[in-house]
């Protein structure tokens, strides 16, 4: 088994087993979306118009929720030492860990978002578009979050600080994600251009964030 594949398999196993926390994000997502109609009232037109924004905010918070343990769990039990002195560059370690984290906790959220959108009285086309924008945008959220997770790796209760550090950086992703998603349900912008910008944000984050997170891990960890 190659080192990268071994790391991916190990991350996936840890996430799926008891205490791994892969399902925390999905459950939190479900809770937020399910509570919204009770708070906003039974106005179906209003719910359908707010639907994309609600799904995106829920996805953003759910993604951040699971990320604070991304490196901290390895830091606490000492296996980060293994990763640092292993045969993979730390940048690749970050990328593989993020890929595994995205597959285990963000991908279920993307797949289930049309189902949850039904609770918000959304039509089929907006549902499909929201799922597409989430698939294109959540990699950027995971990668940007990884930088915050790396910076707060040695702090107890670092999750709050991480959210404060990371949330401003995720605002562009949120803006273009919601803009693209609400295009079908009467938004002001067309679908294509915000969706392409969203893809560009994700690609830039995938390319740049591993270097930032690896540099942070080298600096902060002592």
């Amino acid at each position: 088994m190659t080192p990268a594949l071994a790391l991916f398999v190990r991350e996936w196993r840890v996430a799926r087993r008891i205490g791994g926390g892969a399902s925390v994000g999905v459950v939190f997502f479900l809770i937020l979306v399910a509570v919204m109609p009770f708070a906003l009232g039974p106005d179906l037109n209003l719910l359908a118009r707010l639907g994309p924004a609600i799904l995106w905010i829920a996805a953003l918070l759910a993604t951040l929720l699971g990320l604070d343990r991304l490196f901290q769990a390895d830091h606490d039990d000492g296996s980060l030492d293994l990763l640092v002195n292993g045969s993979l560059p730390l940048e690749v370690v970050v990328l593989v860990k993020c890929a595994a984290h995205w597959t285990a906790s963000a991908l279920p959220l993307v797949v289930l978002s049309p189902l949850f959108g039904l609770m918000l009285a959304m039509a089929p086309l907006p549902l499909a578009l929201v799922a597409a924008t989430l698939a294109a945008g959540t990699p950027a959220l995971t990668m940007i979050g990884a930088i915050g997770a790396a910076l707060t790796v040695s702090l107890r209760r670092g999750g709050l600080l991480m959210a404060i550090l990371v949330l401003p950086l995720t605002i562009p992703v949120l803006i273009f994600g919601v803009a693209a998603a609400s295009a079908a349900s009467g938004g002001s912008a067309p679908f294509r251009s915000p969706f392409l910008i969203l893809c560009a944000l994700s690609l830039a984050a995938v390319a740049g964030a591993p270097f930032a997170a690896a540099a942070a891990l080298r600096q902060v960890r002592e």
Binding site: M1, P3, V9, R10, R13, V14, S79, D81, S87, E222
Partner: protein
Amino acid sequence: MRLRAWDLTIERGGRRVIGGLSFEAPAGLGLIVTGPNGAGKTSLLRALAGFLPIEAGGFALDGGDSERTVGEQAHYLGHADGVKAALTAGENLAFAAAMLGGDSSRSAQLAALAGLGLSHVIDFPARLLSAGQRRRVALARLLVAQRPLWLLDEPTTALDAAAQGALAAIMRAHLEDGGILIAAAHAPLGLADAQELRLGAAREAAA
């Protein structure tokens, strides 16, 4: 092959833990780092593994692979032993072997665990193992991947007498193969001709 360190100075949190330390660890002879609590044993081992920055001086692995850092040619085993509680002993070893450039086959895992008298727990989740058993799973990592330099921080913690004997046998085999061993310890490790590096002696004399 030997590990050479010169004028090594390490600071942690603004406090000088180790100042101007020079030593040599030749292949085949173990080097036991001793000293009172807080003398800098763990800091020294973590600096050699590349986890802590050094203020001055340096260290090098003569005869090692010049393409890789000293840390990438070393096994480091510290107080946090790097065993994932959610994975089985075998999965932990398979991952360590793949990551550290070793043999990740099941037979290699069984052989490594057998060397520490633990082959019956290969499919047990690590969270169900006792502290000593977890420690032995971590030590089995030394056997599934071949690395010339071993940096062990109090390796006998939580081990019973039989396991300490097995560990001594593993360390002797590593030294006979021409490996380098640097271990921090309070108790003797069962290595007859090991050299001793005592830290903190100068500070005691000054106090």
